[in-house]
């Protein structure tokens, strides 16, 4: 009888220990990654799904710093799947909307205007091409190098560079557009568009 599901070729106790190290080292980063990309209730699911994959495929997880990039790659797919599932359901409802959380967590001393700006820039990001937006997030929020972004997304470093350039440009353009729409609509409800 199999005691439990576990990665093939790894003894149970060693697997547990390896997993514990991986988990302690990277749980916070993976949770932040998911927190940045999916709505509240889905965060824990995405984190668990990512670590569950790591547990099942412990033999494949590289050692050292590469492990985090590996986990990001898994998380990228897990989150992507959540998005597609959500988008599919919403298409059925006749509504298509991104799942990216649009409500930034406010700093204790952040002004109302500052929070509005953050909300606006997050909304602007929803207009970007999916991969461009992910490049932007990985650089701005996960603080990854272009080479690491390329590794996570499985694309060439040059392509990352081009996408980042395009993403920054389009983000700013969309931001300005939303901003001008907001300022030209004085009666707009708090919270902005849509």
């Amino acid at each position: 009888m199999s005691e439990r599901m576990r990665a093939p070729g790894v003894s149970s106790s060693r697997a547990d220990s390896t997993f514990a190290q991986l988990y302690h080292r990277h749980h916070r980063q993976i949770r932040d990654y998911c927190r940045r990309r999916v709505a509240g209730d889905a965060v824990d699911d995405a984190v668990a799904e990512t670590f569950l994959t790591a547990w099942r495929r412990l033999d494949d997880v590289p050692s050292g710093d590469e492990a985090l990039l590996w986990l990001y790659r898994v998380a990228y797919r897990v989150v992507g799947h959540q998005w597609r599932t959500t988008a599919r359901r919403r298409r059925l409802d006749g509504r298509l909307r991104t799942m990216v959380p649009l409500v930034p967590v406010a700093a204790p001393d952040e002004s109302h205007a500052g929070r509005d700006e953050c909300r606006l820039v997050l909304e602007a990001a929803t207009f970007l091409n999916d991969t461009d937006a992910e490049v932007l997030r990985l650089v701005a929020w996960e603080q990854l190098s272009l080479a690491d972004v390329a590794e996570v997304l499985g694309i060439a470093p040059n392509a990352v560079k081009q996408r980042l350039h395009r993403a920054r440009r389009n983000l700013a353009r969309q931001y300005r557009k939303l901003e001008s729409r907001q300022t030209s609509t004085p009666e707009a409800p708090e919270g902005g568009a849509q």
């Binding site: 302690h24 927190r35 930034p104 590794e151 983000l171």
Partner: protein
Amino acid sequence: MITDDDVMRLFERADPARYDRATSVPDATGYLDALRTRSIDMTITQTTPLPTEPKRPPRWPILLAAAAVVSIVVGALVFATRDDVADPVTPAAPSVAPLPPVTASPTEVATAYLDAIGNHDVDLATSHLSDGALTRLGGPDELRRQLEWARATGFEMLVTSCEPATSSPTGVTPVTCAYDFNGIRSNEIGLGPFGGSTYRFTIQDGKVISLSDSIETGSNGFSTQVWEPFAEWVALTHPDDVAIMYNDSSRSDYLVTDESIRLWEQRTHEYVEHVLGGTATTTP
């Protein structure tokens, strides 16, 4: 006017996780236990070597990944008990599986559920599910549609083993069932069954409280031998059907509607004829 750099700085500041530091990190051992028993009703875990591969082939990648994953519930499966394994292609007998008694073991509950699913008996299958598990599967209507799609495409699950893990003090027992499968009528064209997939249950008080399916479609050749050739054939011979049958242009995910199910059934039968027709001249 605000510059591109200013907007980028704003974006960095808007990080939704920036001030979310209150959540404590659960103990690894406890988390691992929770993972083993957690509720995930649809696991699209790609067991093909993606995270270790720098780049992946672009085509229907990861296959139908989701596709055959028979999404939520694995489709029309034929549950073969361990005694049946020697003849894995033989469908199980028509459903007579009774509800497990209250004292049914976790393994019996899991196998009873799979048996019901294999016989497309939605009512019996749902009777083994907790309310939460049924909800996460999308409810009985979604389950019914998935099973109908699976039936229409000749999807069969051939369970090779079901083994329980150690129960937790709370009475929660994970059960893992390994299975092979046929899809897109692969057995009718002499391919499959395709191995390497697992179904994981969590059983409590005689009910399935969570289940997940991790279907292998890459390393076992299902994607390249069955899914992709069929999708290409559909695109070539019935291009108007693609938008009805598939959810995406890469044809890696399928649509489940009344119309699509009818087409899936029709086209998979035609595909079998097409494939067999190609060899009919040499087969008496």
